[in-house]
Symmetry: D2
Subunit: 467 residues, 4 copies
């Protein structure tokens, strides 16, 4: 029996391939899908079926791309119209050699969400695993806010029923395989357990022991951010996204070309580290460090204007490209040949921004000319505490709240580590702020250096995800 | 939380790396251990502890090699003296960030065997996983025959107690992580489930529902093969094997050098396919196809004479080298530069052997000049049935029973697919048999072509693994 | 200064990338062209120009594919209409930073052939290198037969003039960079020197010291084979071939699917070694060993029916795919999942063919039932000698001469090593011959084993390339 | 014929492998020598001989490492004692299949320097190539200063004779293969031609047309830097360096461990970009950007204390390790796990330094508080010009001249691009300077932005390489 979890790094998306008897089935494939055909090849198996547990919001689904070279059938929940594939209904079973997948309709996160129960009929009628999509995660359950505020209560009720009628009655021993892991934007608080079971979730996942009313209240009042690109994902994933298969190849741009692109519409993303950004950068670029791309590009990049990358040494850009492709940014166009050095070797103007360490901030905390801006997730601010006197605007909402920030002060932005702070600094700079400092280490460093975080509620400028 | 299963391909050995809070622990590492440091590097973790669940018999343990670049502490069961590391006892706990590993002494397979219980104390006191070493597998339990026939009953009793007192009382929801998967020589009948749980094993693993007496009887009468290289593994793994770390590099030998090596003592292994061996080969070589290396080299290769590989196109020999290193064959020396073609371009004498398809055999089955030799595992012969009139000697025991084979007949060797049949054919040729045919497809092909397999007991020449 | 020769392995096609000052130019790129963008990226250069020295016959040109991601301009000789790019004329110069490329019109091999002279104007007006396309090779000159028999004399005269008026007058110190190396089908006798100079060629290349009349006579009477796929190449390369860029991904076929494809039109290519083919194969397949693909597929594969590969272990098929793509076989479709073993595990009928070593043939050479068939290039036969009594038909012309081969004899095919012999054996088998033996080692092995090769002219059945 | 140039990137060291008839010879191999065995394997050749053209000063020779897996014979010039290998003399010849290598004794750069003449005897007695070691480069000749000031004249005379008696008399058409390319510290002004010929050098290499007296004067007055590590290289390469073969594996260090190492003796090298260094760094580290490692580590690192790397994202550190190994820094020990972010997440103190763009400097050039320090090679300063008012100390000599730098001014360091400036800034910081700014873009950027460079001789503080 082939069973492998394929994780899309940083995006925290899980897909799975299972197989037996020369046949394989893929669940929730990603768009750069050669990984699945490679595994099947290694195992001398043919991929014959592809399941989408739901129309995902956080990445472009890969079933159509994977169907092309394999000829596999695409299957998804039947309660919503898709522009491709075949709808499946509660109780339908599909065999993979001696294995069997049974469809459980588990609406809630979306209306057409399904789970898949895996049995090995050759040894038992008990299920071995359940693929829960976005219904049940390790330590969390799916979001119910994405269909809109007016649908939220109903979605939460449906999810409660799906969990309690379909999933939790499974044997404690059933291994749970969700579509996302820790760090995903598809859950507020997904645990970092790589594998879990129904029994372990029953004991440890607090949401599962709530009454229906409590559960629905909790889900209705939950504050979660929705990156703007979700809208595009839903559209593409319902209609059937454009086919790629191979990764696109980036075009090398000279500084001169970058400059002329800047006169048109171009989106330059500086994927260097926060220190490198601070030490010097092309004016007006967006600072999203390499590993933050999948989580933050969706807030600030559009799908029309060409995207150009700036790195220090242009190392492993092929991997960076994957992140763009997975989120549907087929407008990823190129990179600055020679890296940022090519820019400064032209004698071009550069911008710098400041960096502070926690002791630097501690020393200046009471300076009235200093305005501390916390750009973390509001939940982290409330749960982990905040730096006394700091103000809060979530990094993803910074542009909408830009006028709330004083122009005559030194703005010290911080997040939890120093990366999102650099993104925030780049946005502030774009909006004309020139006296911006990023706190390297963020609240983690602050805490490690034994400076206090305040936990009492204090009202500050705040862009919480839900009203 | 980092959790990753690292499988040594073909050997079906599982090792694990778990980590949290910047620290990682490796369980049962293999000797070519860069895979673990690479994962730790990717996760920005330091490997600080290495556990050996028991002194493995089927491969060279990697803890000493892994301790070198990491400085990690080596831990193993305390009930036997090791030449390295520190003994641990029942109930000792080791933390890995918020995770905790608790030692369970689970003797039976070996006296010093331990299991490790993984808890995430930040969420629950319930265990999440148990690393069972060679005590419990998916669908099987550990061997109890390796300490010798006189110890077998006692070992089986100990294993029963370990299972029933220590492992099975764990919650059904506990995920079971054994040291071996399907295909391993460390179990007779390990299932191919990649993951399983205590609850699922209780329902599906027939050995767990036996009474103590039944269990011990079953284990005592179980017929398992023990490859001769196990003796070396036990010795090395107790004393502490020699350090490698990097893979050795093979030396290119010209046909002329191969010829002169043949005058001394050399072990030439033809890793080509059965058809390629049949179509022409260097006289006297051992035919072990590439993917059969880890399972069969240990029957026929010694640890002294240099080992030289013969391939068709010398593709990916680096990977083949891993198999030798994992089994301690540091006498792997080189390969025939230019592949087998380099041999025949010298105009050298070659040997050929025959191949038959199932229809060919069916047509000649009643020919008194044909002697069919089944070289499969005796258990497969008895459970799956055999070709009418065939004789049985296990491929690993062929040399010891060589005189039982008639010299004046056409010997048609077969296994289940055609690969081990080629190994058998090469051994027969080495012992002077010239009229040997390998049944391509073996019993699988025979069956697929709708020829009958007999299941009634019929006494034939047979080399079963236990008297 | 960037200068790199990129060789398409086995095809013996050379392309070049040169660059300076942030710009690069590619000469005669191949179709799988990421290699050039990778080099440019490494050097922080942009590819701005692509030259085609002539419309190649032996591979699909890559300029259009390379122009896509780079935006580079395509340039070629102006004396023929192309469906793309811009024509260039004698004396035009193109700068690459301080470097300069000057066009020399050097017709002969084709009418629009150009050479490119490289100068580094910052140090000298003397040329450093000359890119000669198919005009001048190390030890040979371009073919003049491809435009048809009636054009041959004229083409040879033009080539003589191009060589003696344009190329040979260059300083002795000029490094010569031709479009092909040893083994190419674009020259009869290209030397295996990786680099050469005008001076060295003048001394060592016998064709260059001939008078015009001698030269033309030699070229007109030269016997060269023209693989049928050349016709397609000429057509594509003139019109502009279809774009790929990324390699296609092969589809995994089960034995059952292969079988059903066989009922339709499919081209199955067995890329295993000659011994593996001999030891057992799917009836009716074409045997072209992995490394013979680029040189022999063009004789026997068409551009319509899907092509499916059969290997032993499916190792590195991605590389094999390149060979098909380079020759325009975009109908490469898939491979037998599980390799040939998957076939025989179905109990399917297999074919075998014989293999002999030189001593085997020597022993049977006088047997009147044995008919020895030499399938080498006629020039090799005549220059290196032949086995007494052997008959000759070139492997590429075997189908057209199939009726010249006796059906009632044992056919012993041989080439120089044993690979092309296997291809010949597979063609004979396809045409109903059942008693075919391939001489492993061919004339090389025959010679190495000290058996005689005859050099006197003896008239035999012979398919020489030109009438 | 196999001919391949293997370049050690950045170090600009060339080695060569040539082969024919199943045998290969390597000339001047580097220490991480698997590249040669891989090529030989691909070509089905055995490496049987290794030549050292001279005992190199700029890297650890690889002949002993390469001899181990190949069994090849090591050969070097006979005029000096080596601790390994066999001395060869003028006129000795060595065949490689049909090829022949003839030894030319060409002392000058070192006393035992040899060149190797390559002939293909099957086609001509004229040489095809000459491997000139450090006697003749493209556009330059070998250094004659390394044996000490008192030997310099004699060495220059010997080199003149070697060039004019042995090398230049070769045919113009002979291809020249030197041991170094552009950028090497083994020549002052090596051209970036990848290939050249005797004829082309005669025309373009100005040193070759000088009279003996002129040549010797020029060589004796030539100003070249000698990195301190040369001393170690000469010692190792004469005695026979310690064997490695495989690359060492780096150990992951936590910030805590780094801190404790800092209390002992450790050499921390920050391989990030100049901007990243400027934006924040561990106090006291050495800033050598990734691609500057081979050229500058030898000035500032010792061979005893462990070396630890700091990167942004720990990308491709394996490649960085090669640079250390090639220069004999086997004390390369590890890297900061998690990159520099791991440091600042601990809330640790960080240092920053300034960056200026050319316009920033232009604006402040007349500020008396600004002290501009040019750290380029003195020859670049004199040939390319300098920024008005700047002072000069070569980056490699900065520590010895540290007291010449005013402590009360803002020090603006610059090189030609901005990288060596960062190294200089890190050294200044180590010596207590806190007000240091690195000019991003250096003189290249300054020039590109149209600011003037002065070329008249102006006396400044200057550490020229020779008195």
């Amino acid at each position: 029996m082939l069973f492998e979890k394929i994780k899309s790094d940083l995006l925290a998306h899980n897909s799975y391939i299972i197989g037996a008897g020369g046949e394989a089935t893929v669940i929730d494939p990603r768009r750069d899908c050669q990984v699945y055909t490679n595994i099947a090849e290694r195992e001398s198996m043919k991929i014959t079926r592809i399941f989408e547990t739901h129309k995902n919001e956080d990445y472009v689904i890969g079933s159509r791309d994977l169907a092309r070279p394999t000829g596999a059938e695409i299957l998804h929940g039947a309660r919503e119209e898709f522009g491709f594939g075949t709808g499946v209904r509660e109780g339908e079973t599909f065999s993979v050699g001696p294995l069997e997948l049974e469809v459980l309709e588990t609406p809630g996160h979306t209306i057409e969400s399904i789970s898949l129960l895996l049995r090995d009929r050759s040894v038992s009628d008990d299920p071995l695993m359940v693929f829960t999509g976005d219904a049940l995660f390790a330590g969390d359950v799916g979001r119910t806010d994405l269909a809109g505020e007016d649908m939220r209560r109903e979605a939460s009720e449906m999810l409660y029923e799906s969990l309690h009628q379909k999933i939790l009655p499974l044997p404690d021993s059933t291994i749970v395989c969700p579509a996302h892991g820790a760090g995903s934007v598809c859950g507020g608080n997904i645990s970092d357990r790589e594998y879990t079971t129904i029994g372990f979730e029953k004991v440890t996942n607090g949401l599962l022991s709530l009454s229906k009313d409590e559960f629905v209240e909790r889900k209705v009042s939950e504050r979660l951010y929705e990156p703007p690109y979700f809208t595009m994902m839903r559209k593409l994933n319902r209609e059937g996204p454009p086919l790629i298969y191979n990764l696109p190849h980036l075009r090398a741009y000279s500084p001169r070309e970058i400059r002329s692109l800047m006169d048109q519409r171009v989106q330059i993303v500086d994927i260097r580290s926060p220190t490198s950004f601070a030490g010097g950068h092309i004016p007006g670029v967006l600072s999203i460090w390499r590993n933050g791309l999948p989580l933050y590009m969706g807030y600030y990049l559009n799908y029309e204007d060409p995207i150009v990358l700036v790195d220090d040494f242009n190392l492993d850009l092929d991997h960076a490209v994957r992140h763009f492709v997975r989120l549907g940014y087929d407008n990823i166009a190129g990179y600055l040949a020679g890296g940022f050095a090519a820019w400064f070797k032209q004698g071009e103007i550069i911008e710098r921004s400041g960096t502070w360490s926690p002791p630097d901030l501690a020393e200046n905390l009471d300076d009235p000319a200093v305005w501390v801006l916390d750009v973390r997730n509001i939940n982290h601010r409330e749960e982990d505490g905040y730096i006394q006197g700091s103000h809060h605007i979530y990094v993803g909402h910074l542009e909408e709240h830009i006028e709330e920030i004083p122009e005559d002060k030194r703005i010290v932005v911080h997040c939890d580590a120093g990366y999102k702070g650099s993104l925030a600094a780049s946005i502030l700079e774009k909006h004309g702020f020139r006296n911006v400092v990023n706190l390297l280490g963020g609240t983690i460093g602050w805490n490690a250096a034994n400076y206090p975080l305040v936990k009492e509620e204090e009202r500050t400028v705040s862009a919480s995800p839900t009203p």
